[in-house]
């Protein structure tokens, strides 16, 4: 390959100096920024910047580079192969399989850093994206094409939520691209196994780099993932893209920039860190043909949402789902904070019933939180407060969810309306979850029951209307399944 490019372009460079994943090269007189280069050992690189005498190259492959090694330009921006055969595979950002499977034949080659789609090809969010996670679907709903930041401390259940979302969406036929950025190889393998065990791998593509890969390769991971997402979007698919996680990506870019002697800015991040991430995010959205829903992940430290990167990412997304460490420590699963989470376009495609429900529910949750604090001070609670606290407890149980459990939206609505209507007021708190699970199970396995529930919900425009219906006749929830 090296010889082919060398003869085609007719330019050669020599490695003069090396600094981890950055190499300085003499020669290559006509190199241009972001152009890909090939080393004589087959390694790829990308032109990072240029001086009068030398070219700064970011090494992408894992093969060792030595001083004096030859390299040549390709006369192309960095491109990766894309193919329908990517579906069900685990690949690295250069399109090479890392799942031990056979090599993938490229359908076409596409540049990884492209201009985002203009306004003409875009349209407003029209379809809801069900995550299968009750609290998210009811309080912080998402829409197809939305860019929603998933933010929280380490080990607060962010990844579990993402896996649930993939599970839910893959079963609905959405193309799911899970981009793992510089994580442990064992974790990557575990995720792969999770998708295989749940039989959804045929709808999932994993684009992964582990922490042992070169910084250059880790750096291009989200770009490559977005490129693959765009390939499927252009074919008319709805794509769910998960970027796990952007704080690691920023750390890697900081490392590269500091090695390249770029001027450090706030927290030593380079000045173009916002531009780097927004360039990726802007490529997502809802389009006239297909959509790319992006869930970038950001880590916080001690629940601090005001960090540099965190606020940057909030500024370029359409809301965020906050995983609260305090809620996690209290035993809430998932630990999503309904008060600090935001969705900007998620309500748009919702039916009036769902909009009404969200409003009522959030209003109640705020009231419930205040009441809990009020009672915490030892104040004597009246009947109304006691009733609200009791309902709050039941809603907490309703929100509690296993990591592999997917709850369809309509059954969520039905159960919540049931709680609101006091259908299970006589049932002990400990037995409540079983009742909910029975309804979910019945909805999933019994087509007639599903039809009944769906028509009940579709025929209602207001949440309180549905609640009243259940007050009058709760047979749909209390029947023996």
């Amino acid at each position: 390959m090296f010889e082919d490019y060398l003869n085609k372009v007719g330019e050669v460079g020599y490695v003069e100096e090396m600094m981890h994943s950055i190499v300085y090269v003499s020669g290559l007189p006509n190199a241009h920024p972001s152009e890909s280069v090939v080393f004589e050992n087959g390694n790829f690189g990308q032109v990072f910047s240029m001086t009068k005498d030398r070219v700064e190259v970011l090494v992408l492959g894992n093969k060792p580079i030595k001083v004096g090694m030859k390299l040549t330009r390709t006369d192309n921006m960095l491109q990766i192969p894309v193919s329908d055969d990517f579906m069900g595979r685990m690949i690295d950002p250069l399109g090479l399989p890392i799942d031990g499977g056979k090599p993938i034949k490229a359908a076409t080659y596409t540049a990884i850093d492209t201009q985002p789609h203009g306004m003409v090809g875009r349209k407003q969010a029209e379809k809801a994206l069900e995550t299968g996670v009750t609290i998210v679907d009811l309080v912080v709903p998402l829409a197809k094409g939305q860019r929603e930041l998933v933010i929280g401390d380490r080990k607060t259940g962010k990844t579990e939520f993402l896996l649930q979302t993939i599970l839910s969406q893959a079963r609905k036929g959405t193309v799911c691209i899970y981009s793992v950025i510089g994580q442990r190889m064992q974790d990557i393998k575990d995720r792969y196994q999770f998708f295989k065990d749940n039989q959804i791998m045929d709808k999932v593509i994993i684009i992964a780099t582990s922490s042992s890969d070169t910084s250059g390769l880790i750096y291009i991971t989200p770009f490559a993932a977005m490129t693959v997402a765009e390939y499927y979007r252009d074919k008319g698919f709805d794509v769910l893209l998960i970027l796990d996680d952007m704080t690691t990506h920023a750390r890697i870019y900081r490392e590269i920039s500091l090695l390249a002697r770029r001027f450090p800015g706030r927290n030593s991040y380079p000045g173009d860190i916002f531009y780097l991430h927004s360039r990726i995010m802007e490529r997502a959205g809802n389009f006239k043909r297909g959509s790319i829903t992006t869930l970038p992940v950001a880590e916080t430290i001690m629940g601090d949402l005001s960090g540099y990167l965190q606020t940057n990412l909030m500024g370029m997304t359409d809301g965020h789902i906050f995983f609260d460490i305090d809620l996690y420590n209290q035993g809430k699963r998932p630990a999503v904070s309904p008060y600090l989470s935001v969705t900007r376009v998620g309500h748009k495609p919702q039916t009036s019933l769902l909009k009404d429900l969200s409003r009522e529910l959030l209003g109640f949750l705020v009231k419930y939180e205040k009441m809990k604090q009020f009672v915490h001070f030892g104040a004597e609670a009246g009947e109304t407060i006691k009733g609200a606290l009791e309902m709050g407890k039941r809603i907490d149980i309703f929100f509690t969810q296993e990591t592999v459990e997917i709850v369809p939206l309509n059954v969520n609505v039905l159960i919540l309306a049931g709680i609101w209507a006091g259908v299970w007021n006589e049932v002990k708190i400990e037995d409540l979850k079983k009742n909910f699970e029975k309804a979910v199970m019945q909805y999933n396995v019994d087509a007639n029951y599903k039809k009944t529930v769906d028509s009940l919900i579709d025929g209602e425009k207001e949440f309180l209307g549905l609640v009243n219906k259940l007050r009058n006749n709760d047979e749909v929830l209390t029947r023996k399944f």
Partner: protein
């Protein structure tokens, strides 16, 4: 006249010796080095030029070193060792087409079979037989395979 990188490196070494000797034994070392450690014809030229030098020997040596180091290098990859006349011929040919002072870095690589590869300021020109053969082989590969298949037992 310096033609090759080997010659340039040799001269740089001699100039370094000369520079080091300037301050040893009140200048007596300089004559010793010029007479014994440096090639005689190089020493003659240096002596001659030093007589006309106004800035002093250190400046003269530094200027020379800088000149040599800044002379652009042309890498020439060839399949066999060149005779002196061949070396001169190649040097003159390349210099006349580039129209600037150059130094040849001659590299021997039998794998190119014949011809030469020239690399100058990052530009790469492959005039080797290996390339010619590879191009021809690419063109006729199908025919060769067909012929072999036809005659296969």
């Amino acid at each position: 006249m310096i033609k090759t990188k080997y010659e340039a490196d040799l001269l740089l070494e001699e100039l370094s010796l000369l520079e080091a000797s300037v301050f040893k034994q009140a200048g007596k070392e300089l004559d010793l080095v010029l007479n014994s450690d440096i090639r005689s014809w190089v020493a003659e030229i240096i002596k001659k030029e030093l007589k006309e030098e106004k800035d002093g020997i250190v400046e003269y040596v530094n200027r020379l070193k800088k000149d040599i180091e800044n002379t652009p290098e042309v890498k020439v990859i060839i399949a066999f060792e060149l005779s002196s006349s061949m070396e001169t011929k190649i040097y003159e040919n390349i210099q006349s087409s580039l129209k600037e002072k150059i130094v040849l870095d001659l590299i021997f690589d039998r794998q190119i079979i014949g011809g030469m590869i020239i690399i100058y300021k990052g530009k790469y020109k492959d005039f080797s037989f290996r390339r010619v053969f590879n191009t021809e082989l690419d063109k006729t590969r199908g025919d060769i395979l067909q012929t072999l298949n036809k005659h296969a037992v």
